[in-house]
Structure formats: structure tokens, C-alpha cells
Symmetry: C2
Subunit: 592 residues, 2 copies
């Protein structure tokens, strides 16, 4: 299996499309320049494509092991992790005051895509730490931040996110884990958390669990949830490691994929915890971390799509089978490489045109995270925050779905050779399959988009957001040089705007219908927004010549003609299909 | 995991929709009646839902083992196989003269669906035998038939289909396996075959390999392929087992799924083979077997969809999480079963409305196999043969794709619990994933449909076939009681007919475009034909009352409003998307 990060495409998007100057203009990024950006991407590519990719297959075969109460990562993971932290990858977007490099999120997104492509399991040991760092940096007291964060940025301590319990995944308001004040400002936590990614492992000296629990006497439901830091090993005043805390690993899961990642059941048995933020406000704080994770889970899907594409493309060049349609590349041969078969090209281009469009959306959103966090212009920062809030569920769900369709399609191109373990294509499918499930299922993302992001105050922003794209497309749809791309995007956007209006009304008047159409709406939204990204890219290179740009134009057109038509069917299904769904009673489904 | 065969639905389709009298009217089926039919289905359900389902999970965990040159099946497989043959399941549709029960194909299809639902690996040990039996019964000499077939029907000998070699899967014309006349009427075969399902195992006393090879001096390509019977153990004149033949198992594959099924690499080293049929006409004969296998592979996808549905539906009833939209089933509870969430209902109904429609297509096609094989009316038999030829690639590809979308969706309903191995949902996905690949990839099926089945002589039949459905739909589209179902089907069929015309013209004028649209066309064809099935069912129960029929009407409407709209997007993509695909040169894909 090979992986070469699409650095040329990445730099094209950053330098030529969004413009690196927009990033550099933000306070704190003054020292970023194109050379630094490129150098980091190249180093990330080297590290991903060699070190991390090389241990991915063995990691799957071997799996994380749980013996005598502790977890061992597969061979090579420790060495790779040591390199990872020594090279500073743990602190790319962390604060310099904690030893971080303070680099832009748009860069972090591109790195996340690479690491997600080559080794999802490895990525999981690092990405939860990054989320935990940002959550603590955002919500914890100065004391806690000073004591814990430098070690996280150094990568010698890692983090987790402890939300799920056996009876509550999506619905955290049902949680049972209890926190009792110990009288000294700390709390004693008791309960069992399941599905805790990197809940235990041998890569770091300490693990900082961020745990949601209910303080004794707190209100029921989500309004009674508080957030705690529960270190695996308690940390002394001087920062040295002290006693083992009362957190124990009960078991790890046997999973379809990401088998090198330890997914733990953790027992908290009067474990010492430190309150993060205010009492009963834990879930709101936790969303800081969840949103980071949601974005990066989407990027796993994007990365896996890219590596699936690269390998299927190469295989299709090597594998000769059947004759190509005329004109054949070489009439003297009994068969041609299957990449000459139009069906293989169609499948490859379906992946690639979506991947490149999705990557543009990743860069676009990364830029808006940077603006949200850094911009001195309050209005711009607020708009950026709304943009990120709107696009986060879209990226999480749509990119992870894209990961599934891409890895399945790439596996299909290998034929029987894709089904055997040897070539690694089937691992990509299995590793990807978790992405539409964890960090809030894609159905939860869809409900978030429909019930929160396109309604109320954020709904007003969503309207402005879509209207600004409409304005952009209208401005260019009569321009002959780009009309073949902008035109279809404009039609799809019109349809999205109409459907948004219809659905928003339903959220008020007929909640069940709105919820039943949420996933289809998210897909309609995502396909259309990516068409907008493609349109803006094509407008930006309108007068540029050369094969690199010609291929971008062809890909954009392919996207519009081969991928985007689904949007009209989605809109029809949402609006006309509502009655057929509403017809059913639960008893109709279960009666049989 | 549970499985209850949908016997009520099956009997409804056979008795009330197609009419069992049509089957009974065929020569040789005089003794079939509704009671017998029902009794066999119930027994198949019992055997599948208990014996075969109970060893499915362990079969996956344990896998087939290869040691010291021989294959061992997982624990329980031998006992289950013994029961299988003792109860006569190996000979359901086999000829009574060989000890078979001579029962209808329409029944066999329903049994295949059940066995495919509960244990694909087990099914594979039996289904290749069935195909080999029919191939030999069709093409072998009387001597061979008398000597080998009774043992196959008894189930003590099994069969395989040896086509694929390392460098040729789809393109069998490239094969290298050689056959040299031994001078005594037999041949010596040498070569290596890969991906041989049930190529070796411990369930039967002998294994009959049906091998394609090139006789020395035969023409290159597909016109020089002959078919041979190569028994694992040579059979003496008196039918007793003799010497071991020179066929050896080199290895078995490590696969994503169907891990209990042994997928073998077989070495033939001057192995004794008996010619089946004429020299150089082996591929045509082999298609007899391949078409049986293609149908039954489709039925695996259908069966897996059904078991996925049943378990996800039950899980959605048990799992409480979040509040349902008003009116809630019980306001006093903190959360409701997730089956009250419209999104869960939508996903479940998307599976079920397709599964029931696909099952109708299976019954319809099964009936036509029976007519083709039995009818005394030559014209009817010829039409039925054309119907089966037209629908075989559709069933293989569309049902296996449906299997993937259904198992993935059902897994999604389980959330994180679907990703761990415990509940078995992830195994359904892995086991299903081979169905779109083996027995000719779904892309090969699509090319078969486009380049062979809708063009030339069979194309004339396809036109008549579609026109007869058009006539049927037109007859009923103004009938208020069924218009909501028949109307959308008629629109989709109109669109299919137009697209068929367009595509057929392309097959002549622009082969590359036709090939590039083949998979999308197959999907358009399948979705539309299933809409025709649903329409005919709904017309047939037009005046019937009761909840069973009401649910069928709701499901049909759901199919039309929630599933069928994709057809318009597919047609648009096929016709308008052709240019975007044609724009690309292979160098555009590989240049980067």
C-alpha cells in the first residue's frame, strides 16, 4: 500500500484559492509563510507515508491487547509515537505558552487528513489528546492549565473523552456516573464509562480523563452534568507523578476495525476528579472538545478516501484484464490495464472529484476556525464561528460517508484481490466504518444541522451564508468560461435554499417530519456546498492555463454532472417522501 | 442474533401474487401443493434459524483452517452439513432420477434466501455443489451423469467451479491452465486456480472440480476453452473411491468475511480430467453454472438484508435513547425506544420496502426459471429463458448492493454497539461484502446487461418485456385505489425505456460511453423493475382489506416516494454525465 499526500493540491487550495495571506493576516500567525507551510506538509507526508503507514497493517493483525488490567499497543506504535512527539506533532496548533507551535488550524486539518489516511488507530491515540488539550485550555482554571497542559503538548501525557455509558450514548442526559464533593475542592467519581478511545495504553506516562458526571443532588438530564479531570495517575504539587487514581480498565472491545486502537471500558471507583469550569455546565464545555473531534473524524473519512483512491488508481494501471474500448492503448496485447475501462474511470473520478471538493471544504472551514479564534474583527470572528458551527456536522457526517463510499468503491476495483487481507483495501473499509458512528452518529449530526444550525439565530446566519453563495454563483453563471460548473451549482443551491425553507417550517410545525428528513437534508446540503467550493475554485483559476488547471476544470465538471444530480432526487424525497414515512405507525414495523 | 424467515410474506407472494397454480401446471410439478410448499419453507426456516445461525458467529471467529495440506471447517459445520444432507436439502431442485426431489426453482430461491441470511459460509459449501450438479446434468455424458450425480444429490460428494487464475478473473480468455489428451479419452490438467470456493474441506468424501482449461493447440482467447471434471479422488468403475488425483491445495485466503468458507488456491499437476461437453465449448457450458451462482449470490444479499432488518428492528425497540417526537409513547419515561425516531423508521423502511420488492423479483424470476425448464409451450419457455437471462445480472448486482446498503444501515442503527463484534452486525457487513465481487463483479453484470441483454436479439425481447410492463401500468395508473403506487412506477418506467433506447444506440456508436454508464443503468433498471413488481402486487390486492395488506400498500408507497426518486437522478447522470466522463484521458488520472 502506498500513500503520497496530495501536497500540490493542498498548497494549491491554500496559496492560490483561499490565499495564505488571509491566514497570515491573523494575530499570532505573522511568522507563518508559504515556505514554512510547505515544509511542514512535506515532513508530515514523509512521516505519515513511511512510519505510520508501515505499522498500520500489523497494527490491525495484532490489535491492542488487554492483559492483567493493562493495555499494550501493537508492535511499532511506541516507537512511532516517540517520533511523533519528538518531532512536535502533538503541539502543532497548541499555544506557545505551553510549548506548542501555535500554527493555523487550516494546516492542522491538512495534517489530520494525512494521519487519518495512513493509520486511523494511531491517530486516535493522538487526536483525543489534542481535543482534551483545547478543552482544558478553554475551560480549566489557570492552575490546572499550568500543571497539565505543557505535558500534553509535549505528548508525554495524553487525554480521553469519557462520555458514553452502557445505557447512554447519544442521550447523555441519562448518565449515571456520580461525583461527590470530597470537601477539599476535589470530587470522588464513581461509575462506568464505555467505548473510551485510548482509555488505556502504554504510549504515555499519564492519561488525563475528561469525564462527565452528575454531582450529587444535581438536576436530572443534561442540565445536571459537570465536567471533571480525572488523571489515571494523580499529579503532585510539583508536577511529578504521584499515586495511581481509582480508575481501572475493565476490558477492551473487539471491533470490526481500528483494531490497534484500544476502546476501553473504564471503572471509576471513588476516583479523584477536578472540576473543569462551572458545576452543571459540563456538557457545554465538552462541546468544545466534541466539535474538534467531529471535524477530525470527518477528516479521517477524507484521508481514507484519498489513500483508497491512490491505491485503486495504481492497481487499475497494473492489472490487465479484458480489452479497452477503441482506440486501445496497444492492439498487440491480449488485454489492457483496467484503468482503460470507462467504468473504472468513473468510479475513480467519483472518488477524486468528491475528495478534492471535500478537501476544499476542509481548508475553507479550517480558515474559519482560525478567523474565529484569532481575528481582531469581532463581526468577522462571530461570522466565522457561525460558519464553523454550521459546517462541523456537515463535515463529520458527509466526509465519513464519503470515506465509506470511497473505500468500498476502491475495494471493488481490486475485485477478489480487494476482499482478501493481503492488499489492505478491506482494512480501509473496516477502519473507516467507525467514522459514521462515533463522536455522535451521522444521524445525530443531521439532527444537529436541522434542529439547531438552520433554525433560530444560527438559522438566520445559515440563510445569509447560503445567500452569499447564491450571490457569488449568480455573478458568474453567465460567464461562458465557468458556466458549465457554476450553472449546475446554482441550480442545486436554489433547490437547497427552497428545501431549507420548507424544512425549517417543519421543525416548528411537524417535528417528526423534520427529523425523518434530516439525514437526507444533510447530504443535500453537503453535496451542494461542495459544488459551491468547486465553483469558487474554478472561478479563481478562470484564466489560468496548463494541465493542472485543466484537470481541475474537468474534475469540477465531472462533479457537477456525475455527482451533483443526486441533489434533485434528495430534495424530491425529502419533500414528497415525507407523507409516505408519516403513514407508518411503530406498530406497523414491529407487528410482523 | 435472531432470524425468522418471512414465511407469511413468501407464501403471500407465491399463493396470492404469482399464484401457485402457475407452478403446479408445469410438467413434473403435479404433486406440488400449497401444503407441501409451506411445510418445506417452515422446515427450512427451522433449520436455518437454529442449526445454521447458531454456528455462524463461531464460524467467523474460528475460520476455516489449512494445515498439512488439508482444510478443516469450523466446529459444528460437519454436524450441520450432516443434518443438511440427511434432510434432503442438497437435492431440493435436483432430478428425481438422481435421487433429487424435483421441486420448483421458485421454492429453491426462497430456501436460498434463508440459508444466505443465516450463514453465507455454510451456504457456499452447498451452493457450488448445486451449480456443479446442474451443469453436469445439462452438459455431461450419460456415463458421467450416472456415475457422479447421485452422490452429489445425496450430498456426500460436493462440487466446485474452477475458473479464476492469478492473472485472470473477469477475462477468462487469458487462462493458462492446460489440458493434454492422455490417449485414453481422459486429459491431464496442469495449472493453478485461485479463489476456489470450497476447493477443499472436510464435509464430503469427494470433491468434484469443474475446471476450465485450454487443450493443447486450442485457439487463444475464449474460443479455446474446454470444461473438465477433475475429481479430488478418482472414482473407480464401480463408483467406489480410488486413488487421490493430482489436485492439491496450496493455501487458503485470509479474507474480510465469509471466514468459515475455505477459499483455496488449487494446484493441478497432471491431474486426470474428463471432458464435459465439446472441446473448446467449455465457457458456454460453464455459463449454465455461473447463471445459477449469480442468482444465488444475489439471494445472499437479499437474505442478509432481511436478517439485518429483523435484528435492527428489534434492537431499535429495545434501545431507549432520547425522547421521541410528540406524541411520545410514554411521557413519564426519561427516554423512548429509538424506533420512535423517524430517522430510524426511515432507515428500517428503506431496507424493508426494498427487501420485499426484491423478494418479489426473486419469486418472479424463480417462476420463469421453472417455466423455462418445464413448460411444454415452446414460446412461453423461450420467453421465460429470455426473462431469466435479462434479470440474472440485475438480481446478482442489485441484490448484492442492497445487501451492502442494508447491512450497513442496520449496523448504523446499533450505533457503537454495531461496530463491536459482540452483536454480530459487523459480521453481516463483512460477509456481504464479497457478494458484489464474486461470480463476476457487479460491473461485469452491468456490462452483461448493457452489451448483451438489452442489445441484439435479446434486446428485442427486453423491449417487449418493458413494453408489457408499460401496458400493465398504463392500464392501472388511473385507478384511484392504486394510482399512488402505479403512477410513479409508470414515470420511472418511461424514463427507463428512454434511457434504454439512448444507451443501446451508444453501444453501437460509442461503446466507451455505454460501458461507462453500465452500472448506473443497471441500478436504474433494477429500481424500476422492482417498482413494477410492487405495482403488480398492489393491483393484485386492490380489493383486499386488513392490516397485512394495508402495510403492503404503505410499503409500496414508501418505495415509490423514498427509494424510486433516485431513478431520475440516475437517468440524468447517465445521459448528461457522459460528456464529463468522456473528457478524461487515462493520463489525466495517472499523471498526478
Amino acid at each position: 500500500m502506498i500513500y503520497n499526500a496530495p501536497i500540490k493540491d493542498m498548497l494549491f487550495l491554500v496559496n492560490e484559492w483561499i490565499g495564505l495571506d488571509k491566514v497570515i493576516a491573523l494575530p499570532g500567525y505573522e511568522e507563518v509563510d508559504a515556505e514554512l507551510f510547505e515544509a511542514i506538509l512535506e515532513e508530515a507526508d514523509r512521516f505519515s507515508g513511511t512510519e505510520l503507514l508501515s505499522i498500520n497493517r500489523d497494527g490491525d493483525e495484532h490489535g491492542a491487547k488487554f492483559e492483567n488490567g493493562t493495555v499494550t499497543t501493537p508492535p511499532g506504535f511506541k516507537e512511532a509515537y516517540t517520533q511523533f512527539i519528538e518531532n512536535g506533532w502533538a503541539g502543532i496548533d497548541a499555544d506557545p505558552e505551553h510549548g506548542g507551535q501555535g500554527l493555523p488550524k487550516v494546516l492542522q486539518n491538512l495534517i489530520d487528513e494525512m494521519v487519518g489516511a495512513v493509520n486511523v488507530s494511531f491517530k486516535l491515540y493522538t487526536e483525543l489528546s489534542r481535543g482534551a488539550y483545547h478543552l482544558m485550555n478553554h475551560a480549566a482554571s489557570d492552575e490546572i492549565r499550568e500543571k497539565y497542559l505543557p505535558k500534553m503538548v509535549e505528548g508525554v501525557w495524553s487525554g480521553t473523552m469519557c462520555l458514553t455509558e452502557a445505557h447512554c450514548g447519544t442521550d447523555l442526559g441519562l448518565l449515571n456516573t456520580k461525583a461527590v464533593p470530597a470537601g477539599d475542592g476535589t470530587y470522588k467519581l464513581s461509575g462506568t464509562k464505555i467505548f473510551i478511545t485510548s482509555g488505556d495504553h502504554d504510549l504515555t506516562e499519564n492519561i488525563l480523563h475528561l469525564v462527565i458526571a452528575r454531582i450529587e443532588g444535581a438536576p436530572a438530564g443534561t442540565r445536571g452534568i459537570s465536567l471533571f479531570l480525572v488523571p489515571k495517575i494523580l499529579v503532585n504539587e510539583d508536577g511529578s507523578l504521584g499515586e495511581r487514581n481509582a480508575v481501572n480498565t475493565a476490558s477492551i472491545e473487539h471491533k470490526m476495525g481500528i483494531r490497534a486502537s484500544a476502546t476501553c471500558t473504564l471503572n471509576f471507583d471513588d476516583a479523584t476528579g477536578y472540576l473543569i469550569g462551572e458545576e452543571n455546565r459540563g456538557l457545554a464545555a465538552m462541546f468544545k472538545m466534541m466539535n474538534i473531534e467531529r471535524m477530525t473524524v470527518g477528516l479521517q473519512g477524507l484521508g481514507l478516501s484519498e489513500i483508497a483512491y491512490q491505491n485503486a488508481r495504481d492497481y487499475a494501471q497494473e492489472r490487465t484484464q479484458s480489452k479497452a474500448p477503441a482506440p486501445r492503448p496497444d492492439d498487440s496485447k491480449p488485454a489492457d490495464p483496467i484503468i482503460y475501462q470507462p467504468e473504472m474511470q468513473r468510479q475513480l473520478l467519483t472518488i477524486r472529484s468528491q475528495v478534492e471538493g471535500a478537501r476544499a471544504l476542509s481548508v475553507f472551514t479550517g480558515l474559519h476556525v482560525d478567523i474565529m479564534e484569532r481575528s481582531a474583527d469581532e463581526a468577522a470572528a462571530a461570522d466565522a464561528e457561525n460558519t464553523v458551527a454550521l459546517l462541523t456536522p456537515v463535515i463529520k457526517a458527509h466526509f465519513s460517508d464519503l470515506g465509506m463510499s470511497s473505500t468500498l468503491s476502491a475495494q471493488q476495483i481490486y475485485g477478489g484481490h480487494g476482499y482478501v487481507r493481503e492488499h489492505g483495501m478491506e482494512q480501509l473499509v473496516r477502519d473507516c466504518r467507525i467514522a459514521p458512528i462515533y463522536e455522535g452518529t451521522n444521524e445525530v449530526q443531521a439532527i444537529d444541522l436541522v434542529a439547531r444550525k438552520i433554525t433560530g439565530k444560527t438559522g438566520e446566519f445559515a440563510d445569509r451564508f447560503l445567500a452569499s453563495w447564491q450571490e457569488f454563483l449568480r455573478e458568474h453563471e453567465d460567464d461562458e468560461k465557468v458556466a458549465a460548473i457554476v450553472g449546475p451549482a446554482a441550480v442545486a443551491l436554489e433547490c437547497l435554499i427552497d428545501t431549507t425553507r420548507w424544512l425549517r417550517e417543519k421543525v416548528q410545525s411537524d417535528d417528526a417530519t423534520a427529523r425523518g428528513a434530516a439525514s437526507q437534508y444533510l447530504r443535500l446540503f453537503a453535496l451542494t456546498i461542495i459544488a459551491c467550493m468547486w465553483s469558487q475554485i474554478i472561478v479563481s483559476i478562470r484564466d489560468k492555463e496548463g494541465s493542472f488547471y485543466d484537470i481541475k476544470r474537468k474534475l469540477a465538471r465531472f462533479y457537477m454532472q456525475q455527482v451533483l444530480p443526486e441533489t434533485s432526487a434528495l430534495a424530491a424525497t425529502i419533500i414528497q417522501g415525507a407523507d409516505a414515512l408519516a403513514d407508518f405507525e411503530v406498530s406497523d414495523l414491529v407487528g410482523q
